[in-house]
Symmetry: D2
Subunit: 342 residues, 4 copies
């Protein structure tokens, strides 16, 4: 029997409906660079779902999207506020600094930062007599869900929006796993809320069931001039751009994007419930598709024989936190096998 794998949400190909559509349209000839009808239709579908009249751009990956947004929205003297655990701060190999911008880290709480901490940072900055010698905060970067699998509530995002307005900062949300945020029971944030509160956010495809691709949403029309040229300059313009449009079009038909998220979180909840019953402790209470379990070190090796998981961090001398991740492709059968093993 094949080993179980809960290592990540980007181990397989695409949702079968996507692959089918790519196959069905394969021999059509269309304009390149995203100027085709599929991209057009997918953009309209997303704009409708977000209740915005602005712009949608399709990009290939998350780091690329973050780098382009930060580089095009910020002026050279501005940096971006992020949780110290934010993806842009630790896990993008310096892509933001490559574009010339400093990440301004704020200490996280379970992967999150709050309006008060952001406001305090800005007040300290502007009350410093030397702040013209310093990098100006120009944007707040959040991940929803966060790198810890946690979620911002609608009230929290509204408070952060207020502090962004107070200090003239953009609000940008990295939604690499957004589908799994929407799929969480405790979630009270919708695409329309993001469309209303953010200056930019992206709807993650790669980790949520596409072959690749992220849909960047900029609610205000024509906010960034020559965005197309900037995508090209960053080496991010896909020649056969319709591949992105087709995938997101499928995702936004019949609410497939929401279904994908719900299924994965339902399975993660099932695992979490079983963990509690079996007496396992969890390192963080994450409501989405990531599970952070504390496992005694002497059990790890045996577990690895049957399940592919990720090492997260050392808990204490005798325990380790491991990460289990469900995805749109996980099955009830796999989850039951996992529970039986744990």
């Amino acid at each position: 029997m094949e080993k179980l794998s809960f290592a990540s949400d980007y181990q397989e190909g695409a949702h079968p409906k996507i692959i089918e559509r790519l196959m069905a349209t394969n021999l059509e000839r269309t304009a390149g660079y995203g100027l085709d009808e599929y991209c057009q239709k997918a953009k309209e579908a997303i704009k409708k779902a977000c209740a915005i009249s602005g712009d949608v751009w399709f990009l290939v990956g998350g780091t690329q999207t973050n780098a382009i947004v930060i580089d095009t929205f910020l002026r050279p003297y501005e940096g971006v506020i992020s949780a110290d655990t934010g993806h842009i701060n630790g896990h993008e190999a310096g892509a933001i600094e490559y574009g010339g911008h400093k990440v301004l880290p704020i200490k996280h709480k379970l992967g999150k930062i709050d309006a008060k901490a952001i406001g305090d940072y800005c007040r300290d900055f502007y009350s410093d007599g030397n702040h013209e010698h310093m990098v100006h905060p120009g944007m707040v970067y959040l991940s929803q869900p966060t790198e810890y699998g946690t979620l911002y509530s609608l009230a929290e995002l509204e408070d952060i929006r207020k502090v962004c307005d107070e200090f003239s900062m953009y609000l940008y949300i990295d939604g690499a796993r957004l589908a799994y945020g929407f799929g969480a029971e405790e979630n009270d944030v919708t695409l329309k809320d993001l469309g209303r509160l953010c200056d930019a956010f992206y709807i993650g495809g790669t980790k949520c069931g596409t072959l690749f691709g992220e849909a960047l949403v900029i609610p205000k029309k024509d906010l960034i001039p020559h965005f197309f040229t900037m995508i090209k300059q960053h080496g991010a313009l896909l020649a056969k751009g319709r591949m992105l449009g087709i995938q997101f079009l499928v995702m936004f038909e019949d609410d497939l994007y929401l279904q994908v998220g719900k299924k994965a979180v339902r399975l993660a909840d099932k695992i979490r419930k079983a963990l509690v019953q079996k007496g396992y402790r969890q390192a963080y209470s994450a409501p989405t598709n990531q599970i952070f379990v504390i496992v005694a070190n002497d059990k790890l090796e045996k577990l690895a024989e049957e399940v592919v998981y990720s090492f997260w961090e050392k808990y204490d001398d005798e325990h380790t936190v491991i990460r289990l991740v469900t995805s749109w492709s996980s099955t009830d059968e796999e989850v039951e096998r996992l529970i039986a093993i744990l």
Copy 2:
């Protein structure tokens, strides 16, 4: 009847064999970021075809590949010599300068530059008493085929290699349409030659039949430290990296890459022959999959009703150069219809 299209070689999806393989492997779960077995096998196949022991990296697009190569090979004080018509000089939206490097243009002849012109440039540079105030030439960039559809001969490449050695410059070849170069009758350059003569080159996928993707070949092992990190920093690391490996693996089975090129060039030759018979003049004598025909302005509109082509440039007040491009997906039937129309 659908309009004919000879507008470009990236209008359709992927070669059917590629789509089939992506579908067949879709639900497998593998490691991310190109660390899977498909990438491994595809790299081995390419290394074998090039007779090198070095490294192969899969990237998503051509501009991205050019930017990463130039940025990682060159030191900050170095620039890259290119034909003034080179893709990096005019059509990459400043991606090379975004990475901090100057393109050092040399006047082209039908898209090409030669060893003498390159050598003269370098001799002038090093004999200038102020050259430490100037950008040092650190690399020669060529396209094979060029943006004009022309080809470097083996002897020409060998001469350029010599001048690169003389002035300690890297030689890098952009093979966005390499398959169509290999498919040309007059071509005498092989993958093994490129492996022997270049410090880096890429085997183009996007324009030669993959959904996307370029295979960067660096013949000398471990030449560039932490290349993986640099790919990530440039936002170019595909999470589901195996998509690239699978596509190139198919391309290097049963010489599919060569077949793709041969077919497209055979069809282009057929068009060229017909053009001659019908009394058309061609602006350049390109032996690959691009055809540059001079058409009287009063015929253009009627042609456009039946055929999608590209405007290339004004020829004189009464004539225009248009570009027709064949690809792996063009058919004999389409070519015959086109000839009948011309």
Copy 3:
């Protein structure tokens, strides 16, 4: 007797009036970073001379000033049009590209480009269907005097201003040797003209009699936000900023800046007149402080025994163009000695 030197205009220290003032004020304690009264007064003097209400900033050197202006005025998708002989294109070691911007070269005529050539470039750009894949022209860079010692007339600058307006480009003038332009008989351009026609220009100090320093003039107030921070980010903020203010204050008292230029050009004219009388040909007809003489190769060595000059370029197999430069510190006596030698 000491060898004569006409090698350049930055071989000595500062005009004696400047050194005296630096000495007289040496022990005063003032605010740093240009926030002192000397800088304030010098800025007011320059604004008055230029008849503008905008901003003046003091920077240390010319390449630095060019890099900061281009980097702060342009958006990332924009490049700067320059004569191919422009200082930024060839002699700043890639400082402009280091900031991420492409120099868009236009073929020069005696160091100059004209409104027609600039307009043609822009029309070609905007009529190219692919121009969103290209670097947008965002600024025109001129040198006054040029690298060839030539001058733009007022009419030429007004025409270039018009083409800048037509294509929404900034006009920026590098005045490294501006004093020597003002000192030329044929000159009809004033500081007030520059204040009226340019979006930015700098009044060169280093080559015109200060120890170091350039005064950047931005006629429109607050055009570039947080310019102070951008100066700091470029490592160009002088802690003891008043050194710059004091020097320019002296330069703008009693028209010293104009006197300096006049004197040097008068001496250069004297040399040029003597050259004509002695039957020398000049490579270019430059009306400022640079002289480009064609000398038979067999005379060069002997000349070098008595005079320090610069090699400019090979003229033909038997002749060389050498450059002689006068400065504020050249004397009539030196010029007469030189004439006697020639």
Copy 4:
């Protein structure tokens, strides 16, 4: 009577001996760009004082020097470890990120970081399975004295050197106030120690008595290729480069650099002693030319009538930390007046 000023160590011009020498040499004509004899002699004097055979470069300011060193020493995938209070992390307006490099902050203790904290950071980095997705630590940046006026001991620097060797990192020391470090009683670090332990360090001029200028020392010869070109590219090459050479030549005659430091620290010690006697508390125990006194808020205004000082930070609701700084130009008389006022 003029107000006392202890606001900073860059409020006045240059040490009188420097101004005298600049005046004496003013009309000499020499080669530009630092290729003159004064620079040559000053370099030799510094190399001798540091007991190295490598290279010395003269630059204009501290941020500029930091940016150039970090940009030329590091590869694009590398960042620089610094105390979170390090000048490059907070007060250089993003100059390091402008060059594409991330500052990797470590929590400071009185402005310092130690070998253990650095080693732990590196061990964590290399034991992280994802570290190829992260910025690699390539250099350790220290300030001597630190931004808190504190000093590293020789033993501490030797330990840090060891950890740099262990993890193949460069060690770079910012000596903006190095003279005041050498002048401290507790100091046991010499120029020769720095020459032996560092890969690069700079001997600060601007804050230690020159008009401007920093002497960058790279103990290993030719370590960084084309450093001259890199200086030019960063807009940091002074045309009249001898101004830097002359100043440092004076500084290294008769140990002037050491005398300057000793005098300022003696005066600072005198103030510190008086503060203790008068019952003031100090926020940090700094042994150099900076004094951090805790003052009751209700006394601040009156003090400001007689003394210019810097606000440092809020201490508690009723107290503030102010900074007093002595320099080479402070006098015993001024210090006595200050003590009388306190």
